[in-house]
Structures are given as structure tokens and as C-alpha cells.
Symmetry: C2
DNA sequence: GCAAACTTTGAACGATCGTTCTAACTTATC
DNA sequence: GATAAGTTAGAACGATCGTTCAAAGTTTGC
């Protein structure tokens, strides 16, 4: 009963190139372009090797989400624990690359059950952390959690980022720059109010 | 030089079935499932006939957007002209079917240039109307358009609807029901404030 | 240095895609 | 009822997809 040998370093590196390539491919040409042959070409390997790492393309997508979500959950937790939670949150949420990728994954998950389950799990966990923190800090911003429910604030933050970034990336010109600037001013005002509370 | 004869009634009806089928297919299985053969099967015709109506699949997508957008622009204009503009707007924006379809089209447009141009045109036009109306009515809600820019409000309305509906449809359980309920209360309070203005 | 395990390639499979072509069918016009 | 135009079906093309398989190459453990 010999123990299974560990992965070679060269393999580990190729595996990283596969995931990186798949991610970039998704941003450049959409999730439909994430095929074993396309990914392999970007990683400089042959298509069947992709299937040696990931039995099916679904597994590749799931691995993609897993790798990203670990970082994202950490970042969101850090943002919410920072000096200016709302501002950090917005900075993180409105990051074009991350949001553009999220949009693609959302669409891809629509007809890939395995991916859907994975995305759902991450989304639920992130929302749980957000709501928990909001419940605690909303009063510090002079906002009433029973009026503006944390779940509403959280969905609005994410949704706004989605709408703005989707436009910025695609270039639909629904005045995303105005929206982004106004949001930054709005968040700045809230952070200011939190620093120096003055009852209305 | 005879004039081109007009389309037969039976053809017109099949054409409608093709567009209806494509729409439903998009909602059921995602935009990637909109293939000439799948659409033809739903419409009870043969695949090449789809190409007789629409030279390319891109043309089919564009026709889909055109047909929808005519209705949607009208509905948005009607909502904004109603007794309770914000409430009507939210009701329209948060309609699951329309929004789910919009999400799919957004994703599909990402790698279909012709579709992208069409979606962009509609998005820009809708946003233009929204901003124009908001500029006028925001003060009636006791909101300052120079602080909360119309472009921000508009993007937030659409984004929130996107986030909530995406979850509702996919079942990610990021508390969309709480968010929806809170938004309805919030809008109701704004409409109330508009009806009976009382300076803070 | 040899055997076993790990890694990679090349070729090929069945399925599906968009699209085209040709020939047949149907209807309107005269 | 002949003719022309509009409409439909059937077969097939080249391309690409996910995936599999067998064989070759490479590294590791002893």
C-alpha cells in the first residue's frame, strides 16, 4: 500500500496556467469560449491534458470559482473590518475585473448545475457576512436597520456595482461615470457622518 | 418591375412562434441553447426555415431585442408618467421574467457584436428617459438631484432588480425576499412623502 | 538502474453547431 | 390553369465541441 506520490512542480505550474488562462478567456471572449482546446492553447499545452487535470469542463469552472472565492471572502471580511467599511466594500464591489468575471460566472451557472451550486454557496456565505456586519454598523452611519434592511443595502451595493461595471465593460453609455462618481460622493458623506456623528 | 408580394399569414404566425420559442428557450436553458435546431423544434418547423426568416442567428437575437424593447420603452415611459413613478418603475424593473431575459441578453451580447450594439442602443435610450424624468421629480420626493445624481438612482434601481431577480430565479438564497420587501417599504415611504410633503 | 507511478501527446469518436443548396411544395396573379 | 413568387423540407458541408483511449515520455522510489 504505497502512498500516492505528490504532484510534480511543473504540473502544478501548468495547472495554474490553465486556471489563469480560463479566467482571462472568460473576460476576453465570454464563458462560452472556455473550451478545453481554447484553454489548452492559452496554457501552451494539449487539450486532453486539461481533462487530465479536470475530468470535465464543469470541474474546471468549479475550480475557478473555488480559487476566486477563497480570496474574495477574505477580502470582503477585511473590507468590512476596515476603518471605512462602506467605502472599502464599494471599492471591492466596483472592481471591474472581479465584477465582470462574476457576471460571466452568473450567466454560465445558469445552465451548469454543478457550477450553480458552487456559485450559490459562495454568494450565500458572502451575503451572510455582509448582513451580519451591517446589522452592527448601520446605526453608526445614522441609518436604521429596521427601516433599511441590511439585505436591501447588500443587494443594492452588489446590484449597483453590477449595473455600473456591466456598462463600463460593454460601453453601453448609460452614464456609468456619473453613477460611479455620485456613489463615491455618497459613500464619502456616509463615512464622514460615521466619523463625526451629529444627530440629524 | 412587379412589387414584392406580401408575406403570407401562415408565415407571419410561424415567425411569431420562432421568436416566442427563442425567448422561452433563453429563459429555460440559457442563451447558448438558442440554436437554429432547438428554436425550430419549439416552433414545430425545420431548422433551415429559421434561416429563411433570419439569415443568421445573430439576426434572430437582434429581432428578439427589437420586439421586446419596443414594449419595454413604452412601459417605462408609462411607469414614469404614472401617479407613483418610483413604485411603477420598481414594479416594472423587478419583474422576474423581463429581468431574467435581460440578464441572458446581457451575457449573450458579450460575445455577439451585432447584439451588443442593439442592446446598447436600447439601454442608452431607456436610461436617457429615466434620467430626464428623475431630474424633474426627485425634488418632489424630497431628494436633491445634485446630491443623489439621477444616473445613480437609475443604476441602483436597475442593479438592485438585477441582483434580487438573479437570486430569485437561481435560488442562491442571499435573502432576496427580505431585500424585495424592504425595497417595497422604502418605495412606499417615498411615495407617501411625495403625496404629503413635509419639510424634514 | 529498474519498476511503478505520474504526466503528456496524438488520433479519433460521436454529437452538435451555423449555414448552404437543391428541389419540391404552396399560393397569388393574371 | 399557367406562371411566377413565396415558402418549406431534406440532405449535406465543414467546424468545433467534450471526451476517451492507447501509447509514449518523464520522474520518483527503492
Amino acid at each position: 500500500m504505497a502512498e500516492p506520490r505528490r504532484r510534480r512542480a511543473a504540473t502544478e505550474e501548468k495547472l495554474t496556467r490553465v486556471l489563469d488562462g480560463a479566467e482571462q478567456l472568460m473576460l476576453d471572449e465570454g464563458y462560452a469560449a472556455v473550451t478545453s482546446r481554447n484553454v489548452a492553447a492559452r496554457a501552451g499545452i494539449q487539450a486532453p491534458l486539461v481533462h487530465y487535470y479536470f475530468a470535465t469542463i464543469d470541474d474546471l469552472f468549479v475550480a475557478l470559482v473555488r480559487r476566486r472565492s477563497v480570496r474574495n471572502v477574505e477580502r470582503m471580511a477585511a473590507a468590512l473590518a476596515s476603518d471605512e467599511p462602506l467605502r472599502s466594500w464599494w471599492d471591492l464591489a466596483s472592481d471591474p475585473r472581479g465584477t465582470a468575471l462574476f457576471i460571466e460566472l452568473l450567466a454560465a451557472a445558469n445552465h451548469r448545475p454543478a457550477l450553480k451550486a458552487e456559485v450559490g454557496e459562495v454568494a450565500r456565505e458572502v451575503r451572510r457576512v455582509q448582513v451580519e456586519v451591517l446589522d452592527r454598523i448601520l446605526p453608526e452611519y445614522g441609518l436604521d436597520p429596521t427601516e433599511l434592511a441590511p439585505a436591501l443595502i447588500a443587494a443594492a451595493m452588489q446590484g449597483l456595482a453590477l449595473a455600473v461595471v456591466a456598462d463600463e465593460v460593454a460601453g453601453y453609455d448609460t452614464r456609468p461615470d456619473e453613477a460611479r462618481a455620485a456613489m463615491e460622493r455618497f459613500v464619502a458623506r456616509l463615512e464622514e457622518r460615521r466619523r463625526s456623528p451629529e444627530r440629524s
